[in-house]
Symmetry: C2
Subunit: 598 residues, 2 copies
C-alpha cells in the first residue's frame, strides 16, 4: 500500500496543534462560517486535511486514528481519494456503520476533550454534538480554530467585486425588503436580526458576487435592527458604484472581520432573532449575556426570498427561453455528432453545454457542475465525470444530463434522459413510470397550506406500485439568480413544515436508478401559482417554467393515460411556440419534429 | 332573554371557590386525569359548569365573564345550550376569534393568577399555557381542584368490574407485552415508566372494563419498572377471577388513589419515561426531584399497541363478518321500511343499528355514537340527531351513516352514504370523487418508513383538482376491541412523524360536504400488510377489512378508471363471498344484487 505522505504530514501537523491545545479529538466538517453548500477555497479544510473532495463528508481525528463519514454518493470516490492517507472510510447509511459521535465515544477515554471550530459549525449542529457528548462524559471545546496555524499555504479569502441588481431585475428594492424583514422581526417580538447565509444576504440587499463556485454570492454578514441595516464585507470588494448603491439603500458597510466585535459591543439588552441552523456557533457565542435570543427554524427572510415576485418570475421565464435555445442547439449538436460517429465523451458534453449557454445573453455561469452520466454512470446520483471515468458516448442506451445556468434574470436546472439507440422494454417501462410521476406533480392542484411532503407521492406513486423508489427529494427550491438549491420549502419524503406558497420555484425531478445499468431522471422547474378560490378556500397549481423537449422515444405509450398524453402534447406545444421564434430555420425544423404530437 | 339560573348559580359557586383560593380566572377543559376522549361522568366538569355537552370545548371563567371555546362542529349546539348561561361563545377557527389564552390576557390585569386543576391537564397542554402566560406577566396556579367543593352532587367514580382477555383473543399475554415495554424503556435509558392512558393500560394488561361510553376501558394507572408491573385501580372493580388473573401475570394491584403517593415515595433516583401529552401534570409534579425524566412524543407502549398481531387481525376479520351481517340486515330493513312508506327517523336508524349489532356474537357495545345524517345533516361532520333535529327519512337524496361496534374480537367503524331516490348530477360527481379517493388509498403501495401524511393526498387528489377539500383526517388508528380512535399513526394533512407499520389498522374515510345540502363519506377499515421486498427495500400495502356493499347507484361510471371499477368489483366479490354463508336465502339474494358486477 502506498502512503500518501502529503496527507499524513498534514494530519500530523493537526495532531501537534491539537496537543498544544489539550485536545484529544478534532472534528472537521464541510461547511464554512455561512453554512454554505459550496464554501470558498479558504474554508475547504476538510478536503485539504484528507484529500477527499466530495461535497459532503466530515473528518474526525484522534491522537492515533482518523475517519471520514460520507454518504453513498461518494463511497467510490472516497475509497480512491483516501488511499494511503490512513483515514478510515465510514459509510453513512450502511447498517452497523457507527456514527461519528458513537465512534468518538468508543475511541476516547472518559473526560476527553473534543475540539471544534465554532466558526464552521451551525448552532444546531454544535448543540447536537454537545448534547450527545455531555451524556457520555466527554467535553466539547468550541473555540478551536486550528487551521490558521496548520494550513500554512491556506488560500486567501475571496475578494471578487460585488455588483448590485436593479429593481427591474429584482422587482423590489433592498429598502423595501429590509422593511419586510423588520416587520417579521417585530412580529417575533424581536428588534435585531443577524444573517450569515450568503444567498439570504444577496437577496436582501440586491447584491451579487462571485466568491464561490456556482452560487453568485459574496462572503458577508448582515445585521438588521429597527434603524439600521449593516453589511459586513471586505471593503475591497466594493467599487464607487456599489458603495453609492449601498448608501442609496441606507445600508451601512462595516468590515467583514468586525462582525463578532460588533455583536459584543452593540447588542446588549437587544432582542435578537436568529435561525440557529444558519448561524455559526461562534456568532451566537458573541451575543452579550443580556440579549434575549429568539431562535426560529426558518428565518423570515428565507421565506420572503423563496416567494418570487412577478418580476422575478418574468425573469425566470426569460432565462428559460435562453436556456431552451442553448439546449436545443446542444441536443442537435449531440445528435449530429453521434450520427457522424464523432467521438463525444461525458466531459465533452459538459463543456459543450457550458459553451452554448455562455453564448446566451446575460449568462453568468453554471448553476452547478453538470452531471453527465452515460449508461451505468446515470445510476450514480451525483456523478461527476473525471478523466478516469469519462465515458465515450455510443449510439445505444440512455444518457442522463442534469445541468443549469445562472443568468442575470434567473437560474435554471434541468435534467433530460436521452435515448441514443435501441433500448429494451424495461428501460421503456422505467422511463414511462418516471414521466408519469413528473406529469402527476406538474398537474397537481392543492389547497393553501399544503406542504411538499403531501405532494411528493404524486411523483413516486407509479414506481411504488412496482416496488421501486428513488432516495432523493422530488423537488428543491431554486433561487432567483441565486443558489440552485434553496429552502425553506421542498417536495420530499421528509416532514418539512413549510407550506408551498404562490411564487415559490421548485424542481420537479422524479427518477429511477438501476444500479450498474442506467439512470432516468426528468426534471423541469415549476412555480406555484394561484389556481382558484371558492367554498373550500384557495387552491394552487404549478406552472412549468423549463422549456425543452422531453424525449418521447422511450415512452411506452400504453402506460400513459389520455390526460398524461395531453399534458405532454401541450407542454411540447408551449416549448415549440416559445422557442421557435428564437431559432434558425434548421433548428426550428428540428424542434418541430421533437415536439410533434405524440 | 331567559336566564339559565341553574348554570349561573354553578358559575357563581365556582367564582366563590376561586376567590377563596385567590384565583382571578379558572380554566375548565374537557379532559380527565387520563386525557381521555370520552371521560367518565365524574369528570364532565365542563358540561356541568356550562351546560354545553359537546365532546370538545374549554371554558374560561373570570370574576365577571365566562367564555366557551369550541370548533365548528359544535357552533349550533353551543348557541342553543349556552342560552341564558351568560357564557360567551368563541368560535375556534373563525378569523378574529381570540384564543382562550389571548382573551384571558386581554381581560386580566397584570400579575393575575389563573387557576387550573393539574389533574385534568396533560403536561403538554399545561406547559403550553404556562409558557404563554409567563411571557404576559400572568401566573398559572396548577394546584386548583375546585370542583370537589363546588359540584356537591358530583357523580361517583365509575366502578364497573374489569375482565381479562384470553391469549386466544389478544395473541400475546400481558407478561410478554410488559417485557416488550421494559425493553423499550431500557432502550430510552430509563428504568421506570408511568402510563395514564386507559386504552394503553387495557392493552398492556389484557384487561377491559366498562367505565366510560364506547371505550371498553377501566379507569386506572399503570407503572412498570425493571422488576414490577403495577395496576392502580379501585379494588372493588376486581373479582376473585380477575385478581387471580392479575397475579398470574405478576401484576401488582394498588389502590387507584395511591398513585401519587406511590410516585412520591418510590421513585427517588429513578429514570422515568413518560409521554407528556398523555400524562396529567399532577402526576409529573409528584415525581421526586431526584428523578431523571425522559419525555417522549409517543410512548413505546402506544406504538406496540398500534401494531396488531395476527391473532388480533384475525379477530378484526371475524368482527367484520358479524358487523357485515348486521349491516346487510340493517340496509334491507331500511329499504323495506322506505318502500312501505313506514316512518323512519335518524334516531330510529341509530336504534336499529345498535339492535342488529347487539344480536351478533360477542357484541359488547357501540364503538361510538352513530352519526346518521339525512340530507343537509350529512354535511355536519359530527352530527348527532336529537329529538329536535331528528329528521324523517324520505325516498330522496343522500343519507350518511357512520357507526361501529365493539366486539370481543375487534372494533368496527364504517360509513356508507346511501342513495334514497333520484339524485342530481352534482351528487353523482361528488360521490364518484369520494369513491375514487377511497379506492386510491385502498390500492396504495408504499415503502417502509412512509408516514400517513404522505399518503393522505391519494384520497383527496380528485377533489383538490376540482377545488374541493374536507377538513378532517382521512384515516385514524383503530384499537383492537379498544378505542375506535387511537394513535400514534394517522393518515391526515398534519405532519405526524409515525411511519405506517404492518399490522396498523386505520380508517379510510374521504368525504365531501356541501353545506346545507348533503354530505358524502365512504369509510372502510384497512390494515397495513407487507407487500414485497426487493432492490428498493420493503413495500407495504393495505388490506381492506370492512365488509359491506358500497352503494353504486350514485357512481358516475365515466369518472372511474378501469382499475377503479376492478377494485370495486373485487371488493364486492369479497363482501359477497365472505358474508353469503352467514345470511338467510333472502338476505343472500339481496346481497348478491347489491354486489353484482358494476
Amino acid at each position: 500500500m502506498t502512503i500518501n505522505s502529503k496527507i499524513t504530514e498534514r494530519i500530523d501537523a493537526l495532531r501537534k496543534a491539537m496537543e498544544s491545545k489539550g485536545i484529544d479529538a478534532y472534528i472537521v466538517p464541510s461547511s464554512d462560517p455561512h453554512i454554505s453548500e459550496y464554501p470558498a477555497d479558504y474554508w475547504k479544510t476538510r478536503s485539504w486535511i484528507s484529500g477527499f473532495t466530495g461535497s459532503a463528508g466530515t473528518i474526525a481525528v484522534t491522537k492515533n486514528k482518523a475517519g471520514l463519514w460520507t454518504d453513498s454518493r461518494y463511497f467510490l470516490q472516497a475509497i480512491e481519494e483516501l488511499e494511503g492517507s490512513g483515514i478510515e472510510l465510514f459509510k453513512e447509511g450502511v447498517s452497523k456503520t457507527p456514527s461519528l459521535e458513537q465512534w468518538l465515544t468508543d475511541e476516547l477515554p472518559q473526560e476527553s476533550t473534543i475540539g471544534i471550530d465554532a466558526q464552521v459549525f451551525s448552532c444546531t449542529e454544535a448543540d447536537k454534538l454537545s448534547a450527545f457528548f455531555i451524556k457520555r462524559n466527554l467535553r466539547v471545546e468550541n473555540n478551536c480554530p486550528l487551521f490558521d496555524q496548520v494550513w500554512t499555504d491556506r488560500p486567501p479569502l475571496p475578494e471578487s467585486k460585488i455588483f448590485a441588481l436593479s429593481d427591474s431585475t429584482t422587482g423590489a428594492c433592498a429598502k423595501d425588503k429590509i422593511e419586510k424583514v423588520r416587520n417579521a422581526m417585530r412580529h417575533e417580538g424581536t428588534d435585531t436580526t443577524l444573517i450569515a447565509a450568503l444567498d439570504t444576504i444577496a437577496w436582501l440587499y440586491n447584491i451579487r458576487g462571485n466568491d464561490v463556485a456556482f452560487n453568485p454570492v459574496t462572503v458577508a454578514y448582515a445585521l438588521v435592527n429597527e434603524t439600521q441595516s449593516i453589511l459586513f464585507i471586505n471593503k475591497k470588494k466594493l467599487t464607487e458604484e456599489t458603495s453609492n448603491y449601498l448608501s442609496s439603500q441606507d445600508i451601512l458597510v462595516l468590515d467583514y472581520h468586525k462582525v463578532e466585535e460588533y455583536l459584543q459591543n452593540n447588542l446588549a439588552e437587544k432582542k435578537v432573532l436568529i435561525a440557529p441552523a444558519k448561524i455559526n456557533l461562534s456568532l451566537r457565542n458573541k451575543l452579550p449575556k443580556s440579549c434575549q435570543v429568539t431562535e426560529v427554524a426558518t428565518h423570515p427572510a428565507d421565506l420572503l426570498k423563496s416567494i418570487k415576485n412577478e418580476t422575478e418570475i418574468k425573469g425566470f421565464r426569460n432565462a428559460m427561453k435562453k436556456d431552451g435555445v442553448a439546449l436545443v442547439r446542444f441536443l442537435m449538436w449531440l445528435e449530429n455528432s453521434l450520427e457522424k460517429n464523432e467521438a463525444v465523451s461525458e466531459i465533452d458534453i459538459s463543456h459543450k453545454l457550458k459553451e452554448l449557454r455562455s453564448k446566451q445573453a446575460d449568462f453568468f455561469g453554471e448553476s452547478f457542475g453538470s452531471i453527465v452520466g452515460y449508461g451505468p454512470h446515470g445510476a450514480i446520483v451525483h456523478y461527476s465525470a473525471n478523466e478516469k471515468s469519462n465515458a465515450k458516448i455510443e449510439k445505444q442506451g440512455l444518457l442522463l444530463i442534469d445541468s443549469g445556468g445562472q443568468y442575470y434574470d434567473g437560474t435554471t436546472d434541468i435534467t433530460r434522459t436521452l435515448v441514443l439507440g435501441k433500448i429494451d422494454d424495461q428501460m421503456k417501462i422505467d422511463y414511462s413510470l418516471v414521466l408519469k410521476g413528473h406529469i402527476a406533480l406538474a398537474m397537481a392542484q392543492f389547497p393553501q397550506g399544503t406542504k411538499g411532503v403531501q405532494l411528493d407521492i404524486l411523483a413516486r406513486q407509479f414506481m411504488w406500485i412496482n416496488g421501486i423508489n428513488y432516495l432523493h427529494g422530488t423537488g428543491h427550491g431554486v433561487g432567483h439568480f441565486l443558489n440552485v438549491h434553496e429552502g425553506p420549502q421542498s417536495i420530499r419524503m421528509d416532514l418539512n413544515p413549510i407550506a408551498l406558497e404562490p411564487g415559490m420555484v421548485n424542481s420537479n425531478e422524479p427518477a429511477l436508478y438501476r444500479d450498474n445499468k442506467y439512470g432516468i431522471r426528468i426534471e423541469n422547474l415549476i412555480v406555484v401559482r394561484h389556481a382558484s378560490s371558492g367554498d373550500y378556500g384557495n387552491f394552487y397549481r404549478f406552472e412549468t417554467l423549463t422549456l425543452c423537449p422531453i424525449d418521447t422515444k422511450a415512452i411506452h405509450k400504453a402506460l400513459l393515460t389520455e390526460d398524461e398524453i395531453d399534458w405532454l402534447n401541450n407542454y411540447h406545444k408551449t416549448v415549440y411556440a416559445t422557442l421557435a421564434p428564437l431559432l434558425t430555420e434548421e433548428e426550428n425544423k428540428w424542434l418541430k419534429n421533437k415536439t410533434n404530437e405524440f
